[in-house]
Amino acid sequence: MRIRAFHTEGFRIAAIFVAIFALSAAALTAVTIVIVNSEFRDQIVQFANADIAAVKDGYRTNGEAEAKEVIGQRMAAPGTSDFFLLERGRTPLAGNLKPMPPQTGILTLPYPGNSPGHAILGTGTFLAPGLYVFSGSDLHRARLAQRRILFTLSWVLVGALILALLGGMLVSRSFLRRADVIVRTCRAIMAGNLTTRVPIRGTQDELDRLSETINAMLDRIAALMNNVTQVTNDIAHDLRTPVTHLRHRLERARERAVTTEDYDQALEAAIAASDDILALFTALLRIAQIEAGARRAAFAPLELSALLTHLRDLFTPVAEDSGHTLEFMLEGPLQVPGDRELLTQLFSNLIENAIIHTPKGSRVSVTLKRHGHDAVVRVSDDGPGVPADEHEKLFQRFYRREASRTRPGFGLGLALVSAIADLHGARLEIETVQPRGFAIALFLPITQA
């Protein structure tokens, strides 16, 4: 059986920590054993030195007999060495050790009776020429202490390992549970339920941040999908009309046309109608392209008052011919980063809208001002205006007001304007004009966003 908890990142991290802990515990144990060992040896040697000092004292005051006496006392007292030997030549005088060749300094002797694991550590010295004394203790005590430390630490280590293992499993199980939620959400979305979102716990941890990022990505995808769906539907709907008209015309020509001229006319009309349909496609493609944002690379510094002056020269005769007054009030020079071609199209669109949607005799004005960090271009007219509840809809593709349904056009102008504005990080605002009229303002950031 494959236990999933062992395959998670949480468990892996826990395992690494357990390994590090085990290694450091082993190192600690080794160091402790070395220290304890040397401490024990030091202590044994100290005892032996103290005993020998006492024996020396006794010998100095009252000779050999007193030395024997001290050894006897010391052997019986607690907190002293285990073994003593006082010998002259190879003749034992006192103590519990067999006579041996005298050696001075700190030495290790075999334990009497050949018992494994035991040895005697002690100090030997001459009290007088030929009179040798040795005092020492069993090293076994040090070994016992070592073993106890090793034993205790091993249990602590085993306990810690079990705890770490359990902790790792717990952590990874909670991690898995949350990862499962994300996986389930993604599966639900793949299955088609685009509205599902990963729950956020509000703990601001990594998984929460991941969930938030996934949700933000899903929101963006949903928005794009909606957009695509809407455009597809729009195309399907709005293309039906011109294509149907085209078909009607061709049918009518087949029914009614008699002379070559009639056919010519029908063909001209059919070509014009298909041109309209192609123009609609071009407009849609252009909006899609701009919305895709690929054009930012073409941004360059642009002087707005020069650009608008060019448009003034272009549109003034047009406005005059249609009985409109077109006036420009340009504060400048004002430079913004932008795409010349697209901004030209944007402003042309707004100016043309104002001319097309207002009656003869209306006044259209274009102003350029600086406002904080924005260059503000405002196109306003004193025409009939648009009710406030329709303002939002104006930027939608294919939205056409009742009053303008009879005029040629697709209702894509302001959708394009809005796409270009978005590309430039600019804000578009429709403003109500008193007592009547319509104004639309573009706030273009002067420094690149």
């Binding site: 392209q289 690379a297 060019h310």
Partner: protein
């Protein structure tokens, strides 16, 4: 004139070929990039019509290669996408003009004519019949009398004069005279053209600028 059409869509290629032959041109055709490049190198063509998307080697690389080899043959690019960046890339890559599919044949013919018979850009006097344009003094005279023109009208007339005897389309005027790369919804072209004609032809015998129905205009001194 001999014109090479490098286009992989056979229907479009035939369509273009027929239209150019109808105008009295000789047409070579190629349907792939490498073959097109070879034909363009060998033939003495007056112009190339090159699709941007070609099998083997794309149109832009093809023209870049030709330009590197020193070829000066005028090039008209064709593209299916109304890619805004495509046009700039095409012109920077050595194209002389750019046309988005689908296009009217009249538009294609007019543009091919415009790129093949590009006049001397350093000329300072432009003439057609009794009309004279002095590009240095920025002055226009018809039959010796000064015609007072606005800057936009001057630019428009200059373009008409440089292309005199050839049809110029609305979109050529929009792009080249006013730098508008989209189809306006108001009649900018008609308005400016009628003002220019009004000023030029007022009090003179014979119109110089004629409307070509469904296509554009032509400046012609009869």
């Amino acid at each position: 004139m001999k014109i090479l059409v490098i286009e992989d869509d056979l229907e479009t290629a035939d369509h273009i070929g027929d239209a150019l032959r109808a105008q009295g041109h000789e047409v070579d055709e190629s349907f792939a990039g490498p073959d097109g490049l070879a034909k363009a190198r060998g033939g003495k063509h007056a112009a190339l019509i090159v699709d941007r998307m070609l099998p083997g080697m794309d149109g832009l690389s093809l023209v870049r290669q030709l330009r590197r080899e020193g070829s000066q043959t005028p090039v008209l690019f064709l593209t299916t996408m109304s890619g805004i960046d495509d046009r700039v890339a095409g012109l920077e890559g050595g194209g002389d003009d750019y046309l988005t599919k689908p296009f009217a044949l009249a538009e294609l013919v007019a543009r091919v004519n415009a790129i093949t018979r590009r006049g001397d850009q350093r000329q300072t006097m432009l003439r057609a019949g009794d009309l004279e344009m002095d590009l240095i003094r920025r002055e226009v005279r018809r039959a010796g009398k000064v015609v007072d023109l606005q800057p936009q009208e001057f630019k428009l007339l200059e373009y008409m004069l440089r292309n005199s005897g050839r049809v110029v389309t609305r979109s050529m005027l929009l792009e080249n005279v006013w730098e508008l790369h989209f189809d306006p919804r108001t009649n900018i072209v008609e308005t400016h053209m009628s003002r220019l004609r009004g000023k030029m032809d007022r009090g003179h015998a014979g119109e110089l600028i004629h409307t070509v129905r469904g296509t554009g205009y032509i400046l012609r001194a009869d």
